[in-house]
C-alpha cells in the first residue's frame, strides 16, 4: 500500500505528472476573476471567499481524471485488481495521493491568493481552515467519480458533470465558513458540518468507488 502511495507521488513529481499544476490553475483562475467581474476592491472582497473556494474546487476537479484513468489505459488497473491488495485500499491510497498533491498545496497557497482578491483580515485563517477540512472530501468524492467514469475515453467532462453536484454540500459549507469568518461571524456550525462531510465520505466512499471499478473492469 505504501508502495502505491510512493509510486503515485513519484509519478506526480515526474515530468508531465502535474504536481504544482493544480496550484497554477488555482492562481490563474483567481487572477482571471477580476478580469471578468471588474477591478473594484469592495466587490472583489465580497466575492473573495466564494471565488477562492470555487477555484480550489475546480483545480481539484481538473486533476481528478489522473486518479484512475491513466492506470486503466496502460493496463495497471487490471493488474492492481488481480494483485494481493484490497481494491478499497487502492482507492483510499490514490485519493490520499491526490489530496497530497492537490488539496494540500491549494490549502497552503490560498491565503496568498486571498491577498489578490482583497480578502478581509479575519478571513485568512478561516479560509485555510475550511480548505484544510474540506479538500479531503473533494479528493474522495472525486475518486468515486473517477471510478465511475474509468472505462470511458476522455471521461473528463462527464466526470466533472457527475462530481460537481456531489461537491455542492462541501462547497456550501466550506464557502460559508470562509465567508462568515471573513465577516467576523460565528463559524462553528458550518465548520462542524464540513468536517462531518469529510469524515463521512472518507469512511464510506472508498467502498463505493472500489465497487464501481470492479464493475468497470468487467
Amino acid at each position: 500500500m505504501i508502495a502505491l502511495l510512493i509510486r503515485d507521488l513519484r509519478l506526480a513529481m515526474r515530468a508531465g505528472g502535474g504536481f504544482g499544476l493544480g496550484l497554477a490553475f488555482f492562481l490563474i483562475v483567481t487572477v482571471l476573476v477580476p478580469f471578468g467581474v471588474g477591478p473594484e476592491g469592495t466587490l472583489l472582497a465580497r466575492v473573495a471567499p466564494g471565488v477562492l473556494w470555487l477555484g480550489a474546487l475546480l483545480a481539484c476537479l481538473l486533476s481528478l481524471d489522473r486518479i484512475f484513468a491513466l492506470d486503466h489505459e496502460d493496463g495497471s488497473l487490471d493488474l492492481l485488481a488481480t494483485a494481493p491488495v484490497p481494491l478499497e485500499g487502492v482507492v483510499a491510497v490514490k485519493a490520499c495521493a491526490h489530496w497530497l498533491t492537490t488539496g494540500l498545496p491549494l490549502t497552503l497557497a490560498a491565503p496568498a491568493l486571498g491577498l489578490l482578491l482583497n480578502l478581509p483580515g479575519p478571513g485568512y485563517g478561516w479560509l485555510t481552515l475550511s480548505l484544510a477540512a474540506g479538500t479531503p472530501a473533494l479528493s474522495v468524492i472525486g475518486a468515486f467519480g473517477a471510478a465511475l467514469t474509468v472505462g470511458l475515453k476522455r471521461g473528463g467532462l462527464l466526470l466533472s458533470l457527475l462530481v460537481l453536484p456531489l461537491y455542492v454540500p462541501t462547497l456550501i459549507f466550506g464557502a460559508e465558513v470562509a465567508r462568515r469568518g471573513a465577516e467576523g461571524l460565528a463559524t462553528a456550525t458550518p465548520f462542524l458540518l464540513l468536517a462531518g462531510i469529510s469524515a463521512g465520505t472518507l469512511a464510506l466512499l472508498p467502498f463505493a468507488a472500489a465497487a464501481a471499478i470492479r464493475i468497470n473492469l468487467r
Binding site: A15, G16, L27, L116
Partner: protein, 242 residues
C-alpha cells in the same frame, strides 16, 4: 569572424569561462555599491519617507523582468531560425532568473504599496500586466519541465515564447483599457526636467547596472550548466547503447 562562432558550444564554454569571473566580480561590486549607497546614504523623500529606498530593488528588478523576456524572445528566434543550441539553452537558463525578478518586483511593489496606497495589491494595469508576465514565465518553465526530449522541448518552448510575446503585448493593452492605474509613470525619461533628483538617480543607475551584470553572470553560469547537463545526458545515453 562571425558572431555566430560564439554560438558553438565548445567555443562558448571557453569564452564564457574566461569572462565569467570578471562579470561576476563587477556584478557583486556594483550591486553592493548601488544597494549600500541607496540604503545607507540617500535622504528620505519628502512625500514617501524612507520607502523610496525600495526603488533600488524595485525598478531594476522590474526592468530586468521585462527585458529578460525580450531576450528570451530573441534567443528563441535565433534557435528556430539558425538552430544554435546555445541559444535555446540560454533561453532556458534565463527563464528562472526572469521569474525571480518578476517575483522581486511583485513583492517589493506589494510591500511598497501598503504604505503608499494603503493596500498590498490593486488591480492597476502595470501591476496586473506583471502578474500576467509571471504566469507566462510559469507556463514557459512548466513546458520545459514537462518534455523529455531536449530538442523537442527547445522547439516547443520557442514557439510558445513567440506566440506568448504577442499575447503579452496584447494583454498589456487590454489591461490598460480595462482599468485606470495608480502606479507611477516613467521616472527615467530622457527629458531631464521630469527626472527624479540626482541623489536618488545615481545610486539607482548603479544598482540597475549591478542587476544587469548579475543577470549576465547568472545567465552565463546557468547556460554553462545546461550545456554540461546536455553533454552528460548524451554521454549517459551513449554508454547505455554501447
Amino acid at each position: 569572424m562571425s558572431i555566430w562562432e560564439y554560438a558553438n558550444p565548445k567555443r562558448f564554454m571557453q569564452t564564457s569561462g574566461h569572462v565569467l569571473p570578471w562579470v561576476s566580480g563587477l556584478a557583486v561590486l556594483s550591486l553592493a555599491t548601488g544597494l549600500v549607497w541607496g540604503f545607507f546614504f540617500t535622504p528620505e523623500d519628502y512625500k514617501q519617507g524612507s520607502t523610496v529606498k525600495i526603488i533600488y530593488l524595485h525598478v531594476p528588478a522590474a526592468m530586468l523582468a521585462i527585458n529578460i523576456w525580450a531576450m528570451m524572445l530573441v534567443t528563441s528566434l535565433v534557435w528556430l531560425i539558425r538552430r544554435h543550441h546555445v541559444s535555446a539553452l540560454a533561453a532556458k537558463a534565463a527563464a528562472p532568473i526572469g521569474l525571480t525578478m518578476t517575483l522581486i518586483a511583485l513583492f517589493t511593489g506589494a510591500i511598497w504599496g501598503q504604505p503608499m496606497w494603503g493596500t498590498w495589491w490593486a488591480w492597476d494595469p502595470r501591476l496586473t500586466a506583471f502578474l500576467i508576465l509571471f504566469l507566462f514565465y510559469l507556463g514557459y518553465l512548466a513546458l520545459w519541465e514537462a518534455i523529455d526530449n531536449p530538442d523537442t522541448a527547445a522547439d516547443l518552448t520557442a514557439v510558445l515564447c513567440l506566440v506568448g510575446s504577442v499575447f503579452a503585448v496584447l494583454s498589456r493593452y487590454a489591461v490598460n483599457f480595462w482599468n485606470q492605474g495608480l502606479h507611477q509613470g516613467a521616472t527615467l525619461s530622457l527629458d531631464k526636467e521630469e527626472n527624479i533628483a540626482d541623489v536618488f538617480y545615481i545610486p539607482l543607475l548603479i544598482s540597475i547596472a549591478g542587476f544587469v551584470l548579475g543577470f549576465v553572470a547568472l545567465l552565463l553560469l546557468r547556460t554553462r550548466t545546461e550545456i554540461r547537463a546536455r553533454r552528460l545526458k548524451a554521454l549517459q545515453a551513449r554508454e547505455r547503447m554501447a
